[in-house]
Symmetry: C2
């Protein structure tokens, strides 16, 4: 099992969110979806990769686009960025993970954000994505906006920090950290080596 | 042909410098080695990935180490960082590129830096690496420390900037930019697509 730590609001996480179901089928590896708030961690670290760095931001969109095409995705980029409602998007994701409908919710959020230009976490994206996962919007948003909903996201973010996570997406295999959609193959290789045990 | 823009002083460039000769043999792709000063560009952009970010720096060393093992390399990490003599290391690399001995010089510089703990650009690494490439140290250092040697590095750095380069290593295929050792496969794929022409 690989822990998939991600934050709706991260651009490169689009690639992982959209392809993880396929990877699961192709490899037999199971993923545990762990939403958290990467923005809090990045602000604490003064890690601002794009907002003040237009050349790097332009490259990032181009790189995401090229990689998306390799995965059979057709985003319309640049997507609206940064997200105004990142926390709400991820408070819902935390509930979704606890209840078992996180992949469906996250995929629809990202699809609408990256392919239809609707910011994740804001309406109409938020309610439509909850509905697309077969859930009652009112119930879910009441939970997400509660004190417990807020505390649960904070707690997940603290857990991420304790694992040394500083970016999204991150993959964790038995405590070993792999950062970036482009390290997924390395994470799977690590899992296989662990499962096969030490060489004789 | 792929342009390989790199700066001795970048940590991830170790991976590319050490494996490019193998990649060339395995793929038939030729690389044009283009040294530049990435530090100038990163300071201009206020892009400081590691110096003030210990968690990210620790991850970077671990990531470089894991990738190095995949490539059959055995670095002793963390290596001394940042380099005190980054400019001198790259002024020599510019001369080496013009004269055709850049890969040999860069590989020995990185090998001694990452595998023996001797900072690149400083003595004894600098003279030994020039010698290992079959060159006369005194002649090369006189050129490297001349006004022309300094101007040539500045000019290469301006050319990198004009291509949108902001990090090392970067691969450029007919103007298309790929940043990072982990984008080398994408750059090669891009080159193949370009060579095969548009689909009928």
């Amino acid at each position: 099992m690989i822990e998939f730590w991600f934050c709706i609001g991260s651009t490169y996480s689009y690639l992982s969110v959209m392809r993880l179901a396929h990877v699961e089928v192709a490899t037999g590896v199971r993923f545990h979806w762990r939403p958290f708030n990467v923005r809090t961690i990045m602000i604490e670290m003064d890690n601002i990769p794009f907002r003040t760095k237009p050349v790097k931001a332009a490259y990032m969109w181009r790189d995401v686009e090229r990689r998306a095409v390799l995965y059979g995705l057709l985003p319309k980029l640049p997507a609206p960025y940064p997200l105004a409602e990142l926390e709400r998007a991820n408070r819902v994701a935390i509930i979704a993970a606890a209840e078992g409908w996180c992949p469906a919710y996250a995929r629809e959020s990202y699809r609408r954000w990256f392919e239809a230009g609707e910011p994740a976490g804001s309406e109409p994206n938020l309610s439509v994505s909850i509905g697309a996962a077969g859930q009652d919007t009112e119930r879910v948003l009441r939970l997400a906006d509660s004190d417990k909903g807020k505390a649960d996201l904070d707690q997940a973010t603290e857990q991420a920090k304790a694992l040394g996570i500083f970016g999204s997406p991150s993959f964790v295999v038995d405590g070993e950290l792999f950062w970036g959609d482009d390290r997924l193959d390395d994470a799977i290789r690590w899992l296989r080596q662990m499962e096969s045990g030490p060489p004789d």
